[in-house]
C-alpha cells in the first residue's frame, strides 16, 4: 500500500465501520498506514464490514488482474480513438 492516506465517503454508522476505518487508515500512534497483508490479517480477526469488504476486494486482485484491467482500459481508449 502506498505511503499516503486513502480516504472514502462511507458514513460511519456503526462502531464496526468506525473501528475498521481507524484500523485501516489511522491506526496506532504515529498514524501508521496498514500494508495489504495487515489489512488481510485484520479481516480474519474482525467481522468484515462493507468498507472492509471493499478493501479486501481491491487488494485480493492479483497484480496480473490489475495489469489486465490496465491493458483493457488502454485498448478501450485506443478503440475509441479510431
Amino acid at each position: 500500500m502506498r505511503d499516503c492516506a486513502i480516504a472514502n465517503f462511507t458514513r460511519a454508522l456503526s462502531l464496526d465501520v468506525g473501528d475498521m476505518r481507524r484500523k485501516l487508515l489511522h491506526a496506532g500512534p504515529g498514524g501508521k498506514v496498514y500494508t495489504p497483508e495487515q489489512v488481510l490479517a485484520e479481516m480474519k480477526t474482525d467481522p468484515p464490514t462493507q468498507e472492509g469488504l471493499s478493501l479486501l476486494k481491491i487488494w485480493c486482485m492479483s497484480d496480473e488482474q490489475v495489469q489486465k484491467e490496465i491493458q483493457k482500459a488502454r485498448s478501450s481508449i485506443a478503440a475509441s480513438r479510431q
Partner: protein, 265 residues
C-alpha cells in the same frame, strides 16, 4: 405572444442546480474543493451560465438543502457527502436524503442527481421508482488517494467522477455522461500505477446509473460547455515521492512512526 416575450422565453436561464459541499473532515474537505472545481466553476462558465446554490460547510444542512431545492426549483442536485445504502449526508453527517423517508422521495421527484458518496448508489432504483428522473452514484465504497491537499494523487479520482456532472451541464444525456465517465476512469486507469489503478478500478466498477429515460438530461439543448473549461490543478508527482522519501528516512532513523501527508479519520 409579443416578440420580446418570445425572446425572453428563448433566452431563459437554465434551471438551477443545488450542490452539497459539506466540509468537516479530510474526505469532505477534499470533496468540497473538487465539487467547486467540478461543478460550480464549470456551471458558471456554461453558455448561458447555469445558476447554482452552493451549500458549503455549515449551510449543508437538511433544512438548507430542502429549502434550496424547493425555493429555486432545482432540476439537478449533486455534490459530495458521506453515505451508505440508504442515506446521503451533509455537514457533520446530517441526513440530506433518506430512501426510507417519503418526504425525500417526493423531494427528488422530477429531478436529476449525481452523488459522490459511498454506497448511496444502492438507493438509486428506489428514488427513480418514486419519480426521480435520474440518479448517478456508487454502489460500493468510493476510494481516493490523498497526499498534498487538494490535488496530487487525488486528481484522477475527482476528474473522472466529475466528468459525469460536467457532461450533464454541457447538455449531454445521462447515458452519454455515464459513458464519458467510464472513458475518463479508463483513461486514468491506463496511465496509473498498480496501486492507484486498484482504487480507480474499484470506483469505476461501482458506478451506477438509474433513470426513467437514460436518453434525457437536465440541460439537454439548453446549454453549451464553457469555451475554455477550468483545468484541474496540476498534479504533483513529487508529493508521493516525497512522502516515500520521508518514510524511508523515518525507517533509517529507526522510528516506528510513518510520515503521512494527511491524516484521515
Amino acid at each position: 405572444m409579443s416578440k420580446s416575450k418570445r425572446r425572453s422565453r428563448k433566452l431563459a436561464a437554465p434551471l438551477p442546480l443545488v450542490a452539497n459541499r459539506c466540509d468537516y473532515e479530510q474526505a469532505t474537505h477534499w470533496g468540497a474543493y473538487w465539487t467547486k472545481w467540478g461543478v460550480l466553476d464549470f456551471a458558471a462558465g456554461c453558455q448561458p451560465p447555469i445558476p447554482y446554490v452552493d451549500l458549503y460547510a455549515a449551510q449543508a444542512t437538511q433544512a438548507g438543502w430542502r429549502q434550496a431545492i424547493i425555493d429555486n426549483g432545482a432540476i439537478f442536485v449533486c455534490g459530495v457527502g458521506h453515505g451508505n445504502d440508504y442515506v446521503f449526508t451533509g455537514q457533520n453527517e446530517e441526513i440530506l436524503l433518506d430512501v426510507g423517508n417519503p418526504y425525500d422521495l417526493t423531494l427528488m421527484e422530477g429531478r436529476y442527481g449525481s452523488f459522490l458518496s459511498c454506497v448511496f448508489g444502492q438507493a438509486a432504483e428506489a428514488f427513480v421508482g418514486a419519480g426521480m428522473l435520474g440518479f448517478f452514484g456508487y454502489t460500493d465504497t468510493y476510494w481516493f488517494e490523498a497526499a498534498v491537499y487538494p490535488n496530487s494523487l487525488a486528481t484522477p479520482f475527482f476528474t473522472s467522477h466529475f466528468t459525469y456532472d460536467r457532461a450533464l451541464l454541457s447538455g449531454k444525456s445521462q447515458r452519454e455522461a455515464f459513458d464519458l465517465t467510464t472513458a475518463a476512469y479508463n483513461q486514468a486507469i491506463a496511465s496509473a500505477d498498480q496501486t492507484t489503478a486498484r482504487y480507480l478500478i474499484s470506483d469505476r466498477d461501482a458506478m451506477h446509473l438509474a433513470a426513467l429515460d437514460e436518453s434525457t438530461g437536465p440541460y439537454m439543448g439548453s446549454t453549451q460547455p464553457p469555451p475554455i473549461p477550468p483545468a484541474p490543478p496540476s498534479t504533483c508527482p513529487i508529493a508521493g515521492a516525497a512522502v516515500r522519501l520521508l518514510n524511508g528516512l523515518s525507517k533509517a532513523l529507526g522510528r516506528h512512526a510513518r510520515f503521512k501527508a494527511v491524516s484521515v479519520r
